[in-house]
């Protein structure tokens, strides 16, 4: 009698303990407010489907998703982080998150990064998420940059993918002799020129120098910076870029490549989808890594990373952390980054990459042929104000290369103020 009572009491406590443990780790409740900037149709559907899967795992949780236009989001984030913070918000890695980290508006999630599931699988992006030795969010996707080109046009003129600067220029000369521009670009919104500067600077002086510049330790009037611009000028003086690029957005510059007026485009992988939609087949479209310029400089790449953060003023941080764990899990990473969804690269090393020639080439390039390092992108690595002034200078340089001294002097003034 006594023993049965004892046993049943024990069983009861065990059951209770089990159920509380279960509650602690799995059953989340309350509201979870998620703000997304993935307003384009495909990413939006991807995100909504992912959140639905998360909701199915946590039926007690009341999830509220708000999708904000990608451009508008960039200015609204300041308001909602301070005034009416969601529990999870999308943003970008590296210096782009610095203003909010420094203002104490993002939650320190170093604890998540200490968990083996994240520590072991996300090591490659840890640097981009780290400021002051702590991590402030998790990545959910990234994509390579590189030169997308018309393989059929290259074949027509007997050109092959260049591996060094001289080949790149001689290819360009051949194309120009045949009335085809080497590169299309639209600089109306400036950042596209930032991509060219990134690559020319990374190839001329390497990753460490580029990051020293980003940190404000190199004068813009330095001879090494001038060397980068001198290389750039060679392409400009050849007439390598499409004319009147200052009038076009990056999308408006796509038709030049589709129509065969220009043979290549230095862009992020997101350019592939519209190029395919415009009718280019995978036989016509191909990709190569930006060739080496200075011999011996380790190749480094741009691979912008998009991220999730927990605002410091969030209400349901427990659920938010669980959501972040869910987003970076190998299964979800495989799913959301496949060709039918985001069509980008998964951040989790255990996730698999979709069967797509651009994603495969990009992944191979970033994981094995980028020994110098992986940068984010000009406007994510450099502080906002420096980036804005510099990209405007790049545009001016591409249109009026003779103004270079004036542009560099101006940028140097800005540098002295921004990094004081």
């Amino acid at each position: 009698m006594r023993s049965t009572l004892k046993a049943s009491a024990l069983a009861l406590t065990a059951a209770l303990a089990a159920s509380t443990a279960f509650a602690g780790s799995h059953s989340l409740s309350g509201d979870l407010k998620i703000f997304l900037d993935t307003s384009n149709p495909a990413p939006r559907a991807t995100m909504e489907a992912m959140i639905e899967r998360f909701g199915a795992e946590h039926p007690e949780l009341n999830i509220e998703t708000t999708v904000i236009d990608r451009e508008a989001y960039k200015t609204q984030i300041r308001n909602f982080l301070t005034a009416d913070a969601p529990d999870v918000a999308t943003w970008y890695a590296a210096n782009r998150m610095r203003p909010y980290v420094e203002a104490g508006l993002f939650e320190d999630v170093s604890d998540l990064w200490a968990e083996p599931a994240i520590a072991d699988n996300l090591a490659s992006t840890k640097g981009a998420m780290t400021i002051d030795g702590k991590q402030w969010g998790v990545p959910y996707t990234y994509y390579q940059w590189g030169i997308y080109y018309r393989k059929d046009i290259y074949d027509q003129y007997g050109l092959s993918e260049p591996t060094n600067w001289d080949e790149m220029k001689s290819n360009c000369q051949t194309l120009l002799d045949n009335g085809v521009k080497c590169y299309t670009i639209g600089t109306k919104f400036l950042w596209t020129a930032g991509g060219w500067f990134d690559y020319l600077n990374l190839r001329t002086h390497g990753y460490d120098f580029h990051m020293e510049m980003a940190a404000g330790n190199v004068a813009w009037t330095d001879d090494r910076v001038r060397q980068t611009f001198a290389n750039w000028r060679e392409l400009i003086d050849m007439g390598g870029y499409v004319d009147n690029h200052q009038n076009y957005s990056w999308q408006e510059a796509l038709p030049f490549m589709v129509n065969g007026d220009a043979a290549a485009y230095l862009m992020g992988n997101f350019a592939v989808a519209p190029l395919r939609e415009a009718g280019l087949t995978d036989d016509q479209l191909d990709f190569y890594q930006f060739p080496a310029i200075t011999e011996g400089v380790a190749l480094a790449e741009d691979a912008p990373t998009d991220t999730f953060h927990i605002p410091a003023n969030a209400n349901n941080k427990e659920a938010a952390r669980e959501f972040l764990r869910f987003v970076v899990s190998a299964d979800e990473q495989t799913e959301i980054n496949n060709g039918a969804n985001l069509g980008q690269l998964p951040v989790n090393a255990s996730a698999s990459i979709d069967d797509d020639k651009f994603l495969e080439q990009g992944f191979a390039m970033l994981s094995s042929n980028s020994p110098g390092g992986v940068a984010q992108f000009f406007d994510r690595d450099y502080p906002a104000e420096m980036a804005a002034e510099a990209m405007q200078g790049f545009q001016e340089f591409m249109v009026l290369p003779d103004n270079l001294d004036d542009i560099l002097a101006r940028l140097e003034q800005v540098r002295e103020r921004v990094y004081k």
């Binding site: 200015t75 420094e102 203002a103 109306k188 200052q246 906002a384 405007q392």
Partner: protein, 308 residues
């Protein structure tokens, strides 16, 4: 009868409101407007003044730097460019007034279907500025655009209006003139209705015609319409923002920015984290506007005085 007598002997105590009704009521009616005007216009003006004395990114701690932002503005070439562009807008946007007047004179006749012509001329004003900007941006496109094709027909090479730092601002002003001319035209059309036919008759008997008739008889009578056209055009020129944003986004390399656009870029845009600096630009823009506002108020005040 009895009640009246009662009232006479024992006057009821009238409340404070009843006693001051005539003085208070107008203020009561004005109160909501005054409240909102104060909260959304007057107080922000002073807030802008005070923010312009700080170095503040809009998120963290603000640091007091006195007139530092203003002394930086003095050496800021982008600011100088914006200021000059504002001046260009002010001067060339005023072309809408004579243009509107001549279209109004041209349309002020009785022909069958004149109402249709009038509404067609008024049409651009109904369009959103964003649409106007887009249409003109396409019109100006360097190769495919209508303008380049028209120039090619008369043997000129293509011209890239919006891509040329020297032409772009004029190109945008021209786009702005299209709806603004329509606006001035409608103001003058209503003004022309009020022109006294007897005066015109008398002038005709005295042998006035053509330009003289216009200058000495018609235009003086259109003075109220001219004044309103002047006010809305000046304000329109200083408010120019959407056309610039749509057509060039301030480019090429910042050569088409005006003060309002520059302020937006510095303080509120994607890369703008300098609230103090933006506020300083806003203060300068406010001071420029103040010159015109003071002039408008003064001339309206004079008008009322003269009327009495």
């Amino acid at each position: 009868m009895t009640t009246a007598a009662l009232q006479d002997t024992d006057p009821p105590k009238r409340g404070w409101y009843k006693r001051n009704e005539i003085a208070v009521t107008p203020w009561l009616f004005l109160a909501p407007a005054i409240l909102f005007f104060a909260v959304y216009v007057i107080i922000p003006i002073f807030q802008s003044f005070s923010i312009s004395l700080y170095d503040w990114d809009g998120l963290g701690q603000a640091e007091y730097i006195g007139l530092g932002n203003y002394s930086e503005l003095m050496n800021d070439r982008a600011f100088e460019v914006s200021l000059w562009n504002n001046l260009k807008w002010l001067v060339f946007y005023l072309l809408a007034i004579p243009a509107g007047l001549f279209i109004a004179l041209f349309l002020n006749q009785t022909v069958t279907g004149i109402r249709i012509y009038k509404s067609l001329f008024f049409f651009p004003f109904v369009l959103s500025q964003v649409v106007v900007g887009l249409v003109f941006a396409w019109f100006y496109l360097p190769n495919e655009g209508l303008l380049s094709n028209m120039l090619a027909m008369v043997g000129f090479g293509p011209v890239n209006v919006l891509g040329d730092p020297n032409l772009a601002t004029y190109g945008i002003i021209l786009a702005g003139l299209w709806p603004q001319t329509a606006y001035c035209m409608i103001l003058y059309l209503t003004g022309l209705n009020a022109v006294d036919p007897e005066q015109v008759e008398a002038a005709r008997l005295d042998g006035a015609k053509g330009w003289k008739m216009l200058w000495y008889v018609i235009i003086p009578q259109l003075k109220p319409a001219t004044f309103i056209a002047f006010v809305v055009t000046i304000i329109g020129a200083l408010r120019s923002f959407d056309l610039i944003s749509i057509m060039t986004n301030g480019g090429p390399f910042g050569q088409t920015r005006v003060l309002s656009f520059y302020m937006f870029e510095k303080a509120l845009s994607e890369y703008g984290f300098r609230m103090g600096y933006g506020a300083a630009i806003a203060v300068v823009l406010f001071l420029i506007m103040l010159v015109f506002i003071a002039y408008f108020l003064w001339s309206m005040y004079r008008e009322e005085k003269g009327g009495q």
